[in-house]
């Protein structure tokens, strides 16, 4: 025993026994320097709450998307050259189609694990946007967007826009009937913009729709341009998070100047690596057992073919709903035409995202409160904000329902025009109602909260 003690004290005095970790530390210090900074960062504090996992879900979805995307890129042909299909999916045997669509069929039917990876890629994208939106809502309702995190709020919102747009690019690539229909609508929306619209549409698409080069044009945008932008913004987002550290919920020992949580190494690192693998596992299970976007059923895109009940991916549903619900108010101005679709497809997204981007500043202006904060609020602490958020969310939900109005109408046997009119009324009436109700409930809760 005493011998053992002697050994350890000697070890301390003469430089500890060379464990692999110590050797690594020495190597790092020799080659990079700054081992003291690194040592401090190993103890970086991560507050413990399920709420902080939401952003991590989004980050991990991005990793899954990049990994699966690289696999898919090895097999996809971004070409609209016409080929005659003779692959394993016999119902389409002998059908003329684009090389792009044919390569997606081969990828799905002939490449081993191809269909799995394709479906995991698609599911990861769907979960990615969902995680971003829920993360955003958490930030909103707990006041995490306040100073000093306004810039990171802007970065987060930009990420949502880029990721949603890249999702749209992604499901446009297979050149199946659905993706072509989506591009057709995108062309029409671009055309509707005053003054620059028609030129913008033909310049972006390389001519009047349908053009033969659009897939080749979308491909680098989808696999390089937007992912690079997303990766850059993610890096900035995480860098700021690292510098400013996480917010924390109120609790003993916690205030705007002091944070409490687990150290990054080992507790947090183990946990979050575990969560990453769990998430990857769940998405892989989706990809294995839940069919998504079976492009072989839709057939190749032809401008003269139409699908029944064409629907975009879920995160475009609100836009689809707005486009379906907005009345056909085409306006003639002198010798010009302002198509009705301009309002729901171009103006409305601007109206939705502009106040979201400005929200941290609007909030501090309205409250005349510009303090530097690190402790979060509970949602009901701010009844006004909760009401705005609930109303906003209701508005988007009604639009989302509108995006599937034909599906609901046929599933429940309702008349489509009647349902459409009902939704047009609800989208105006329901948000203020929900907001008022939320305000009343939150108000009562916050009073009780203040008393206790």
């Amino acid at each position: 025993m005493s011998e053992h003690r002697l050994k350890t004290s000697l070890g301390r005095a003469f430089g500890a026994a060379p464990t692999p970790a110590r050797r690594a530390a020495r190597w790092l210090d020799r080659n990079l320097g700054g081992s003291s900074i690194l040592r401090e960062e190993l103890r970086h504090i991560f507050p413990d709450s399920w709420a902080f996992f939401l952003g991590e879900i989004a980050l991990y979805c991005f990793i899954v998307l990049v990994a699966t995307g690289i696999f898919l890129a090895l097999f996809f042909h971004a070409s609209q050259a016409v080929v005659i299909y003779h692959g394993s999916y016999h119902p389409l045997s002998g059908v003329p189609m684009s090389d792009a669509y044919s390569s997606v069929l081969d990828l799905s039917w002939n490449v081993r694990a191809g269909l799995l990876i394709r479906q995991v890629h698609h599911w990861a994208a769907l979960v990615f946007v969902a995680a971003l939106i829920i993360h955003l809502m958490r930030m909103f309702f707990t006041g995490a967007y306040r100073r000093p995190r306004r810039i990171n709020w802007l970065i987060g919102l930009s990420l949502l826009l880029l990721v949603g747009f890249n999702g749209l690019m992604g499901y446009s690539l297979p050149d199946d009937l659905l993706s072509g229909t989506g591009l057709r609508i995108a062309f029409s929306i671009t055309e509707s913009i005053p003054f620059i619209g028609p030129t913008m549409a033909t310049v972006l698409f390389g001519g009047d729709f349908p053009t033969t080069g659009i897939i080749a044009r979308i491909y680098p945008v989808h696999i390089f341009l937007l992912p690079a932008a997303i990766a850059g913004l993610l890096g900035a987002h995480l860098g700021l998070l690292w510098l400013q550290r996480h917010t924390e919920f109120p609790g003993p020992g916690r205030d705007d100047r002091t944070m409490v949580g687990s150290p990054m190494v080992p507790q947090y690192a183990l946990r979050t690596t575990g969560y990453f693998l769990l998430l990857a596992g769940v998405i892989t299970a989706f990809g294995a057992w839940l069919q998504i976007n079976p492009v072989w059923l839709y057939g190749p895109f032809r401008a003269t073919d139409a699908t029944t009940s064409a629907q975009p991916d879920w995160y475009m549903g609100w836009l689809e709903g707005a486009v379906r619900m907005f009345p056909g108010w085409d306006i003639q101005i002198g010798g010009f035409l302002l198509p009705a679709i301009f309002w729901p497809a171009v103006v409305l997204p601007g109206l939705i995202f502009t106040p979201l981007f400005l929200w941290p500043w609007l909030d501090s202006l309205a409250l005349r409160d510009n303090r530097f904060v690190n402790v979060l609020q509970y949602p009901s602490q701010r009844p006004g904000r909760m009401a705005v958020g609930a109303g906003f969310f209701t508005f988007l939900t009604v639009l989302l329902v509108g995006g599937g109005d034909d599906v609901f109408a046929s599933a429940f046997g309702w008349s489509l025009p009647v349902l459409l009119r009902a939704l047009q009324i609800l989208v105006i009436v329901l948000p203020p109602l929900v907001a008022a109700l939320t305000y009343a409930i939150a108000r009562r809760r916050s009073e009780r909260w203040l008393v206790s």
């Binding site: 028609p198 510098l243 034909d406």
Partner: protein, 307 residues
């Protein structure tokens, strides 16, 4: 993992000699079983082999993905459990970084920036030239957009229909006066342009239906009860493909715009704001259906200088 334990700073995990997690030592307070992590890792072991074997044997997506998912979930579960329960519940606290709100620090930063800016802007003329030349350079790069595609010219306004174009079906078979019975319809194209997206039409034979309203100026457009409308939706450009016989309407499958075939294809429901353009028809000496001319207004979705 009680709240009390979390507030103690740097509360060491129950480890070491008394109740080592995972060890066979005495199970003291706070002892945590290791078997969940073990089970997770065993699942990963087995499933990884399963994944490789099912890949080699070219098994179904369900097997392949099932094994891969299980492998990921097993190790994920083990690590999450390890990080949450086995690694101990070390809680530490520390300061948040504070912005330099002191006047002194801000002044110092301002001075430093000021000096740097002055080094540049001291040269007034050069500074102005720099801004000017830089701005012109950036603007000049906009011309690169021109490489992407042509300006629209006439392509949005015209289709492939010309005076005398014969109507043909999907297979290129000419449509004659006997092709359709009253109350039926088909999709037609101008001869030689089967792939022309903006020229597709819905051809109906109304016959002598008394409900059919001939619009002013279009009296000669529907010979022998044949009437043709553009099949490109005026809302967002999808093919208006659903024909509802009872209501005599065409419905677009994309956004459910509905057009009344008995009344100039006016929109009667859904988001479209303008009717489907009508193609003036004629019947030539051989009994073939032909177009009198191109459409008289642009087909498809609206655009700014269409009006």
């Amino acid at each position: 993992m009680s709240d009390d334990a979390r507030q103690t700073h740097a509360a060491p995990a129950p480890s070491g000699e008394n109740g080592a997690p995972g060890g066979h030592g005495p199970r003291g307070p706070g002892w945590v079983p290791t078997w969940p992590a073990t089970v997770g890792l065993v699942v990963t072991l087995v499933a990884s082999v399963g994944f490789a074997v099912s890949f080699i044997r070219d098994a179904s997506t369900q097997w392949l993905g099932g094994f891969l998912a299980a492998a990921l979930l097993g190790i994920g579960l083990a690590l999450a459990y390890w990080g949450r329960d086995l690694a101990g519940d070390e809680v530490i606290s520390g300061p948040y970084p504070v912005p330099h709100e002191d006047a002194e620090g801000r002044a110092a930063l301002g001075d430093a920036l000021d000096q740097s800016v002055q080094v540049i802007t001291r040269r007034h003329f050069l500074t102005k030239m720099l801004v000017f030349a830089g701005g012109v350079f950036v603007l000049s790069q906009v011309v690169l957009l021109g490489a992407l595609g042509p300006r629209p010219k006439n392509s949005l306004r015209t289709t492939s229909w010309r005076a005398g174009s014969r109507l043909v079906t999907f297979d290129g078979v000419p449509v004659t006066r006997d092709t359709l019975a009253a109350g039926t319809f088909l999709v037609a194209f101008p001869e030689g342009h089967l792939d022309s997206a903006d020229s597709q039409i819905t051809l109906l034979r109304i016959g002598a239906d008394p409900h059919f309203k001939t619009l002013a100026g279009r009296e000669s457009w529907s010979p022998e009860g044949y009437v043709a409308y553009s099949r490109v939706c005026t809302h967002a450009g999808c093919p208006v493909a659903q024909y509802e016989d009872q209501a005599k309407v065409l419905v677009c499958p994309c956004h459910q715009s509905t057009f009344d075939l008995m009344n100039g294809a006016q929109p009667v429901a859904g988001p479209a704001g303008r009717p489907l353009p009508q193609l003036p028809l004629a019947i030539d000496a051989q009994g073939n259906l032909t177009a009198q001319s191109d459409f008289t207004v642009p087909v498809g979705p609206g655009f700014w200088d269409e009006g």
